[in-house]
């Protein structure tokens, strides 16, 4: 009764894990520029995963940049005024943003669908405006400098910090996939009446998911602040932190951990490559990719591969049974 899904053992996960380990190791030996790209890929990857964790319940959030930016400011304020050590600002920001999301979620999670999506979009803008105007605390439009950045900005060390944070986020996402939460969220997405009839406390589950995913976005925002050493209203709440993770998840495939991971690596690296040829044009390419994926590959890359694997397995089992359906 431990997990909902019990699939037969396959070799694919191990191949996948080995490949992931190799990819994670590569930037360590490849030098500072690949490490910069890898840190950016990991940043977007974590945001993409956290967004996916909430969409599994059917709740579409456009508020990633809001909680991301809030996390950055929580880190800067915590470090400046409370003396929180650099690496611990990640935890500090996760808790602060998680609590803020809990309070806001208690109200806005009564909304569904388009209404919820619009409110999250508005929230991000509200956070930005507050930070922009609360000059005495946040430095206003100029933003604020962190007194000290994590590992004094050492490239290898900060890459490892991002890697550890990403591992934690992947772990939380997989825990979501393989615990009671998974069924509850899937049921809510599918049909709320049936979910409630099966005993699911819809409000409690949505609130938990919203607080945890926002907390993750807050921690990622704090790590961004540590990497760059400053926060400003324009950069920290940039709408790209909402749109790019969304595009990555759509490309990789929704409703699972590995879709966002694959999407982030592909789009992150491709985007970086494109920047060399058409500065800012990479955003245009992202847009085109989103449209193409939605039209021709609605389940994303992971969904496509999984579909192929399942089909080939089914034909094998069918032929083993002597062709009986």
């Amino acid at each position: 009764m431990s997990s909902i899904e019990q699939r037969p053992r396959r070799r694919a996960p191990w191949v996948f894990a080995a490949l992931a380990a190799l990819l994670a190791f590569l930037p360590l030996v490849a030098g500072p520029y690949p490490q910069t790209i890898a840190r950016s890929v990991l940043t977007y990857m974590m945001l993409a995963i956290s967004w996916d964790m909430l969409i599994r319940s059917g709740q579409l959030s456009f508020g990633i940049a809001g909680f991301f930016g809030l996390g950055g400011y929580a880190a800067a304020i915590g470090a400046t005024y409370l003396g929180v050590p650099p690496v611990l600002t990640l935890v500090f920001a996760a808790v602060v943003v998680g609590v803020v999301a809990l309070l806001i979620g208690a109200v806005v999670l009564r909304l569904r669908g388009m209404y919820f999506a619009i409110v999250t979009l508005a929230l991000a803008e509200i956070f930005r405006i507050v930070m922009h105007n609360w000059s005495s605390l946040t430095g206003g439009p100029n933003g604020m400098l962190l007194p000290r950045s994590a590992f004094d900005g050492n490239s290898v060390a900060t890459y490892l910090m991002m890697l550890v944070l990403a591992a934690v986020v992947i772990g939380v996402s997989e825990w979501f996939r393989h615990s009671r939460i998974h069924f509850a969220l899937t049921a809510i997405r599918d049909n709320e009446t049936v979910a409630a009839s099966a005993g699911v406390n819809i409000y409690a589950y949505l609130l938990t998911a919203f607080a945890i995913t926002s907390g993750i976005q807050g921690a990622v925002g704090a790590s961004y602040a540590q990497l760059f050493g400053f926060v400003t209203p324009e950069s920290s709440f940039n709408v790209n932190y909402t749109l790019i993770p969304l595009a990555m998840t759509l490309l990789g495939g929704m409703y699972g951990t590995w879709g966002p991971v694959v999407g982030a690596v592909l789009l992150g690296v491709v985007g970086e490559y494109l920047k060399l040829f058409i500065p800012y044009g990479h955003l245009l390419v992202y847009g085109v990719i989103i449209v193409l994926v939605i039209l021709f590959m609605p389940r994303g890359i992971v969904g496509l591969v999984r579909g192929h694997l399942e089909r080939s397995r089914r034909t094998t089992t069918a032929s083993e049974k002597g062709g009986a359906a």
Binding site: R180, A196, S197
Partner: protein, 233 residues
């Protein structure tokens, strides 16, 4: 066990149920009536899905009207809704297990209850690994009943279980419900009055949100009005 007293219920300004009273004391109780009579509205009121604007609903002595649905399920009432009641992309076994997963008192006794469910529906044991969405309509309905039982209810509510099923399957389903009512109280809404009268002990006839007739299964079967309107004799 379940008592509905003087309940008003509706949607916005549309009042569907008016001063409705009924009860389930045990065994199997039928709720009959044409489309739009208010059967599903009453079920949804009991389950906390629809808001009750007047009156009270008590289950085992505790008031449950306007409580959240999951609390009512945790409290011992399970519902087999009218349609879309399964998770089609999950296997039969997964569908059954999740029925117990969200209900604290049923969670630890899942394996035990699974055997009980397989006892009622042997076909489900043979198909544990099949995806729910690929089964026939009748098998899906049985799986839905099985999943509701996994929550270990003391009262099982079925909303039109015969809907869209061929007559032989309906017959089988009501025979199984007949066995089931010895262990769990059953409340079933139906348009197929003939089949359900074999199984239920008592019944209510609902029209325009009011109970117009109540009695034992025999009394209803012999009532000239029921015969004319529902049995088509």
């Amino acid at each position: 066990m379940l008592t509905v007293e003087n309940v008003d219920c509706g949607y916005g300004r549309l009042q569907v149920l008016r001063d409705l009273s009924m009860e389930v004391a045990g065994g199997a109780v039928g709720l009959f009536g044409p489309n739009g009579a208010g059967k599903t509205t009453l079920i949804n009121a009991i389950m906390g899905i629809n808001r009750v604007t007047a009156g009270s609903i008590t289950f085992e002595g505790r008031g449950i009207h306007n409580r959240p649905t999951h609390e009512i399920v945790h409290g011992g009432i399970a519902l087999v809704p009218q349609e879309r009641e399964l998770f089609p992309g999950m296997t039969v076994l997964e569908n059954l297990r999740i029925g117990a997963e969200q209900v604290p008192h049923a969670r630890d006794r899942g394996e035990e209850t699974l055997e009980t469910v397989f006892g009622y529906f042997p076909i489900l044991r043979e198909r544990t690994k099949q995806l729910a969405g690929t089964m026939s309509g009748g098998q899906q309905r049985m799986l839905a009943v099985g999943r509701a039982l996994m929550a270990l209810p003391r009262l099982l509510i079925l909303d039109e279980p015969s809907l869209g099923l061929q007559p032989s399957i309906v017959h089988e389903l009501f025979t199984i419900l007949g066995e089931m009512k010895e262990h769990v109280a059953v409340l079933v809404t139906e348009q197929n009055v003939r089949e359900s009268l074999r199984t239920v002990d008592r019944g209510y006839v609902l029209e325009n949100g009011r109970i117009v007739l109540r009695g034992t299964a025999d009394e209803l079967a012999n009532d000239p009005e029921v015969e004319r309107s529902y049995l088509g004799l």
